[in-house]
Amino acid sequence: MSRPTVIYEPPALRHIHPLAALRRLRQFRDLFITLSLHRVNVRYKQSRLGILWAVIQPLAMMVVFTLMFTLVRANPGGSVPFPLFAYAALVPWTMFSSGLSAASAALTSHASLLTKVAFPREILPLTYVVAALVDFVLSCAVLAGLMLWFGVTPSATVVWAVPAILLLVAFLIGLALLLAAMHVRYRDVGLAMPLLLQVWLFASPVLYGLAAVKDALPEPLYLLYTLNPLVGIVDTFRRAIILQQSPDYIALGISAAVALSLLPVSYLYFKYVELTIADAV
């Protein structure tokens, strides 16, 4: 075993080397795997419905919104049956919202661990992202079932789902790291989370299509709207899988820019806060 030299200094951004941090994260990859498996296993262990809970949430929301839109005799999905239209967007949305609310509390809910053991703290929020991804895969299986039921077959555009998912994961990690680190200092983050997610759902093209927004909003407002990375991501995912359309490249491009620039910034901030996390939790 080689002898690494480790230096501990007062917290300062200039002392933080992202590459060294990633190397250390790699050293602890087995902890990441063990904790992720643990997260997935323990979460539904003591519930009766078990893993079914992973798909109940988007399905229930789909049912509620379908009833609502049936009552007002509207179908934002156009030619596509509304349940499928809504569900195809609820799948990525649910991954985002459940992953974010769990991951942002990841540090504060492990206070005793943080004050006793030193390990790369980003592992804690990351394991919740993995758990959300597992749920995502399960709800995708249900999505496939719904498509069969409604007789919708995907075309070659389905490959666009891959960058959409990757961007979703990147954005989720970036935001989760930022909020988890902030949560340690400002408990307001935990209190604001339900409200934030509620507003965010309606600010993203989940229950309506992006095209409708484009028609309704004036240009500058629409641009502002697309700054929400979920706009491009959710819309691309839905288009790719059930609408057989290629993405709105501008919206997707903006999403990618926002999501990919947030990730390094929030990782740096996280590593900075990490140095004194044990004093604050």
């Binding site: 075993m1 002898r3 690494p4 030299t5 480790v6 230096i7 501990y8 200094e9 007062p10 917290p11 050293q27 602890f28 087995d30 902890l31 795997i33 063990t34 904790l35 643990h38 323990v42 262990k45 005793s112 661990l113 943080l114 004050t115 006793k116 053991v117 030193a118 390990f119 140095l275 004194t276 996390i277 044990a278 004093d279």
Partner: protein, 400 residues
């Protein structure tokens, strides 16, 4: 041999009490410098609140210093509170993997050491049982066993040896000796001064966040004792008074009257503690106190007094022994600390203080079970056929 494995350079750590910006700040450590050469063992001693744990957290990388810097050469493993990473729902085996990977081991490394870990902890039968069903002893043993098999370059040990029964503690010490022989640099933080003297080739005394003394363990431990005695008499009772009183506590020892050779006693069994004192002159009204502390050395569980009923003891040269006897010891299995002091009833000042860190090991009694032995009485009431109260209550129990 001159390579430094640990180099602490002018390190300070400030904590803010409370959340606001104007919250009061205090320095848990101030300008601490310490060099630990490769292969040596250093013991850190000091009272609670002296900054020992803060120094430990900084070295372990749990939190960053406020000033100064720390340079470590080599992998460091910290035994802070064994079993910290355990999850109650997981089995012993799963917890070995979880806890081991928290300490930075890979799954493969852990798998390779699993047998030795389980053997060391002595939990082979229960390795596939969730740890929530473990006894606290098994829990602690498994926790230490994992950390003890890390084979780091630098090992930090914080008071972990205050757990488990005497036999397990002996095994822990043996394991630490093995690591030392292999050239592991060790740093101990402990209340157990005898262990520090035995295991370390250097000791450092921390006081109010600063290094008060450093050097050969025996010297530093002696300094520590002198300061404790001085401080015990400090408020309104300077050292001179203590000396004038002429009483010194010279020994505190205990034994189980049923087994005079044993160093431990049993839950629910008898306990006899002898406190020896020397006196240089007559003092008419002295009260002796025996204190029992929990394993953390802080929580006082009980105080046994000679002056309970207003009795005062007149001491005279050359000295004597006070014996405290407990018929049925109401303490659960574990380790405790004993402390003792002598107080002058007339002036109400502490005149002598025993701080020998005397340990009390309590083992499972033949007839006990659980955390406490509760003194009790019982009686047996035989229900006979003519007992109408009982019969009636049975008859009316189904509702409607």
């Amino acid at each position: 041999m001159s390579t430094l494995d640990i180099s602490v350079q002018h390190v300070g750590k400030e904590y803010r009490l409370g959340a606001s910006r104007r919250a009061s700040a205090f320095w848990a450590l101030r300008d601490v410098s310490l060099d630990v050469p490769r292969g040596s063992s250093v013991g850190i001693i000091g009272r609670n609140g002296a900054g020992k744990s803060t120094l430990f957290k900084l070295l372990a990388g749990i939190t960053a210093p406020t000033t100064g810097r720390i340079v470590l050469n080599g992998h460091l493993a910290a035994l802070i509170e064994v079993g910290s990473g355990f999850h109650p729902e997981l089995t012993g085996r799963e917890n070995v993997f979880l806890s081991g990977s928290l300490l930075g081991m890979t799954r493969r490394e852990i798998a390779g050491k699993l047998d030795r870990i389980v053997e060391f902890a002595g939990v082979r039968q229960f390795i596939d049982t969730p740890v929530k069903w473990y006894s606290s002893g098994m829990y602690v043993r498994l926790g230490f066993a994992i950390a003890a098999h890390l084979e780091p370059h630098i090992l930090l040990v914080d008071e972990v040896l205050a757990v488990g029964d005497a036999e397990f503690q002996a095994r822990c010490l043996q394991r630490i000796q093995e690591l030392r022989v292999q050239g592991t640099t060790c740093l101990f933080i402990s209340h157990d001064l005898t262990a520090i003297e035995r295991l370390c080739n250097r000791a450092v005394l921390l006081e109010r966040g600063e290094i008060a003394a450093a050097g050969a363990p025996a010297d530093v431990v002696a300094t520590y004792h002198r300061r404790i005695i001085a401080d015990a008499n400090a408020p309104g009772a300077p050292v001179a008074v203590a000396l004038k009183s002429g009483v010194t506590l010279t020994n505190l020892s205990m034994h189980d009257p049923d087994a005079p050779d044993s160093v431990s006693c049993r839950t629910g069994g008898p306990l006899l503690v002898s406190l020896k004192y020397e006196a240089t002159r007559r003092s008419p009204a002295i009260e002796f106190e025996l204190r029992i502390y929990a394993a953390d050395g802080k929580t006082r569980l009980a105080t046994l007094r000679t002056g309970e009923r207003g009795d005062e003891i007149s001491v005279d040269a050359p000295g004597g022994t006070i014996e405290f006897a407990v018929a049925t010891l109401p303490l659960g299995v574990g380790m405790y600390y004993l402390g003792a002091l002598a107080r002058d009833i007339v002036t109400n000042t502490t005149v002598a203080w025993w701080d020998g860190e005397t340990r009390l090991h309590v083992q499972d009694g033949p007839r006990s079970g659980g955390q406490r032995e509760i003194p009790h009485t019982w009686r047996h009431i035989q229900a006979d056929a003519g007992d109408r109260t009982l019969a009636a209550s049975v008859r009316i129990s189904p509702p409607g």
